[in-house]
Symmetry: C2
Subunit: 448 residues, 2 copies
């Protein structure tokens, strides 16, 4: 059985992402006959992706259709699924904001303007979907998944599901411990980028003692010689200290992307190096640049293939399925193929102690009947009070600041940052952010 | 009609407080025939209070009985009301802890050891009441009222009501604006020491515009010449900035006692002087010392009267009723005399958006049928996100740290403090606190 769908990709100009998805779709026989509509505001990137997708499907003999548009409306019309990967403003603007805020004492910046742009894009998209494809699922893969999905849930009737790769962090734990991945099971609920491993089993038995023994016997030696790439933060001193402080391992991005709650890892480069190894982790200037360079190198490779019709796309996208959940989830929903996934959906009681209208990251069974999160119970009190509540408070403040258009709400975000030393510092940073090129619309919105 | 009651005062050695209450009781005819049992662990202060109470009642011809005990059990037995004014450990220990933490970078200290002592005393007292006087009301007047009453509510069946004077701060606003107090009404719900004036009326009309005009036309001149005493923080630059930031006036202690949320007022003496005038407010070294000196001076006056049986107690306690709510509330309850009070009681929906098992400060109607808080609705979102949630989070962390006996929960409190610059600073401060004289029991508890 196969069910063709219409999938719109918003922000499809990311060739790496879009062609990865095309590859997976080519290899998913049960979605044969589907249509992907690529949408992006960057015409040249859009055309390249469109052209490569056609070539790639032809190479693999896959029965797929592709469209491309620079407008949202034709992309959304008739869509069954809308995948949002867009980064409003792009990396360049984000980097310029980071540099500017760093001059004001915020080492590596603080999410403010980028956040407002993303919320605006996400909410606008979800509202357009209400009108143009009210039955479609919005699959949100660009950040901030936590706040964005919560916003869409509260303000629209659009069904939203947020996806991320962070939960695969348990695999790095298994790898470092020398465990066979096929014999490992785990569970790690929480908020996106703030998930905590409540279960970790190897061959049916609790495997947390193996982590404890590794910490006691091997961690120091491991850290003495490790030269982690930016993504490898799972067994960092930071992750292990969080485990010791909170009682559960933070998984994936939780080991690096929490800022407000574990500020002492983020104060300066020296701190980052101490807690995430010589490179300073994913979010140091060097680590992040390496990530951006890798992205650029991939795009360059893809461009070279694009410019030479004699080369095969499969050179840069070998035809083997990724571990991306997007298509398996679509397959589960439309073909009633049951599967177990890690998703971000409105809580509705799955994670106790969190309001129902907050989007949580939890395991879920997905099939033709829909997405049913598993009731994961409670996280330990120390994690709730130390990380989850503060993270939720930060999310609520961000959403409030976005919705109100009131400059005081932006000030509140800056004042709550542990790096802020004086009221004036926050005022000046905010002034600088609102007067920099690219943020004119935001400045008008907050001048109300 | 008069109904004699048995009232136990725990921590009765504070002569100023106890004799003030005796004065009010002498002047409350409807409680004629009542018994006060003074309880304190300081024998000489206890005896002085006991003796002065007898003399004072005799002077005024009041029909009252007095007892004194150094044990809790005889004080509680048969009690109708138990008034807790005790400060476990006393001011000297508290000052020593402040000085020590200041050496570690926490200007004017941080509530940790004092908090644990107070919780221990409050919970122990409420548990003894469950056994010895299960129908009695516990009236909690020593701090922390917010956390203490919440703790007692959650962990015992003892009925608790917390009282404070902070809400009278609206009178200082009226005074500075030149309004006739009798024509002013107000409402200021929240948590104890974190209340926000939702209503302020003069002769029936909204009087907030009078505050706005004062800020525009008179505030600068007022601040140029003011020489506030420690208690006068209600119209300080800090209070007005909070009003401008959050949209409602903070009332009473809310204008000075919030630390975690408005850290920029508390960084150092210069900040305190800027925000609370030349003395630096209630909580600067100088302001607090003035308060302690005033306390000492009062005690000295009282001692002089005590040591000379020919002098009248009424010299230091002129027989006119205070605005203390304690006896009017008791009168309302036992004599069914309805009254409108500001109390701290379990929320049960009075303040929307706050869990039911949290004690809130709200207006209440009190009479023979009990204490009925008024439904005050919601506080504005900016106050909830900026102050109420963070304050509740701090309270929950303090209670968790008290109940767990886990050192990590104390670390979490220190790490959350905006003044903490490094993990090591927090560790060292905590080590110092736990090894200082007077904190041996606490050190054992957290060494578990």
């Amino acid at each position: 059985m196969s069910t063709p769908i219409r999938l719109a990709i918003i922000g499809a100009g990311s060739a790496q992402f879009s062609l990865g998805l095309v590859r997976d779709l080519c290899l998913t026989d049960s979605l044969r006959g589907s249509t992907i509509c690529f949408m992006d505001i960057d015409q040249s990137r859009l055309e390249m992706v469109h052209e490569l997708a056609r070539r790639y499907a032809a190479e693999l003999g896959a029965e797929l259709r592709f469209e491309a548009t620079m407008e949202r409306e034709p992309a959304l019309r008739e869509a069954d699924f809308v995948l949002n990967t867009a980064l409003a403003g792009g990396h360049d603007q984000e980097e310029a904001e980071r540099a500017l805020l760093q001059e004001h004492g915020y080492y590596r910046g603080i999410h403010l303007a980028d956040m407002v742009r993303q919320f605006d894009l996400m909410l606008g998209l979800a509202r357009d979907m209400e009108r143009l494809c009210p039955k479609a699922w919005l699959i949100q893969s660009s950040n901030p998944v936590f706040e964005g999905c919560t916003l869409v849930t509260r303000k629209t009737t659009t069904k939203v599901i947020g996806l991320c790769h962070g939960h695969y962090g348990y695999r790095e734990i298994a790898h470092v411990l020398g465990l066979e991945l096929k014999d490992v099971t785990f569970e790690a609920p929480g908020f996106n980028h703030c998930i905590w491993m409540t279960h970790f089993r190897y061959q049916g038995r609790d495997a947390y003692p193996l982590i404890d023994r590794w910490i006691e016997e091997k961690a120091q030696g491991y850290w003495r010689t490790w030269r982690p790439r930016y993504g490898q933060t799972q067994m960092s001193p930071a992750a292990i200290q969080m485990y010791q402080l909170y009682g559960l391992m933070p998984i994936g991005d939780a080991s690096r992307a929490l800022w407000a709650e574990v500020w002492w890892y983020h104060l300066d480069l020296a701190a980052k190096v101490r807690w995430w190894g010589p490179l300073g982790g994913f979010d140091s200037a060097e680590g992040w640049q390496l990530y951006l360079d890798d992205l650029a190198r991939n795009v360059q490779q893809i461009r070279e293939v694009a410019s030479d019709p004699r080369r095969r796309v499969a050179e840069v996208f070998p035809p083997s399925k990724s571990d991306e959940q997007i298509l398996p989830i679509i397959d589960a929903l439309v073909n009633d193929h049951p599967g177990y996934f890690q998703v971000n959906v409105p809580n509705q009681g799955a994670l106790q102690g969190v309001p129902d209208d907050v989007v949580v990251e939890v395991p879920a069974m997905i099939d033709g009947k829909g997405i049913r999160p598993l009731a994961v119970g409670r996280l330990p009190k120390r994690i709730m009070l130390g990380v989850m509540w503060p993270r939720l408070l930060e999310a609520e403040r961000r959403l409030a600041a976005f919705l109100s258009g009131d400059r005081r709400d932006l000030m509140q975000l800056l004042l709550a940052d542990h790096r802020t030393r004086t009221w004036e510092q926050a005022e000046e940073a905010l002034d600088a952010l609102l007067t920099m090129p690219g943020n004119e619309a935001m400045a008008r919105y907050y001048a109300k």
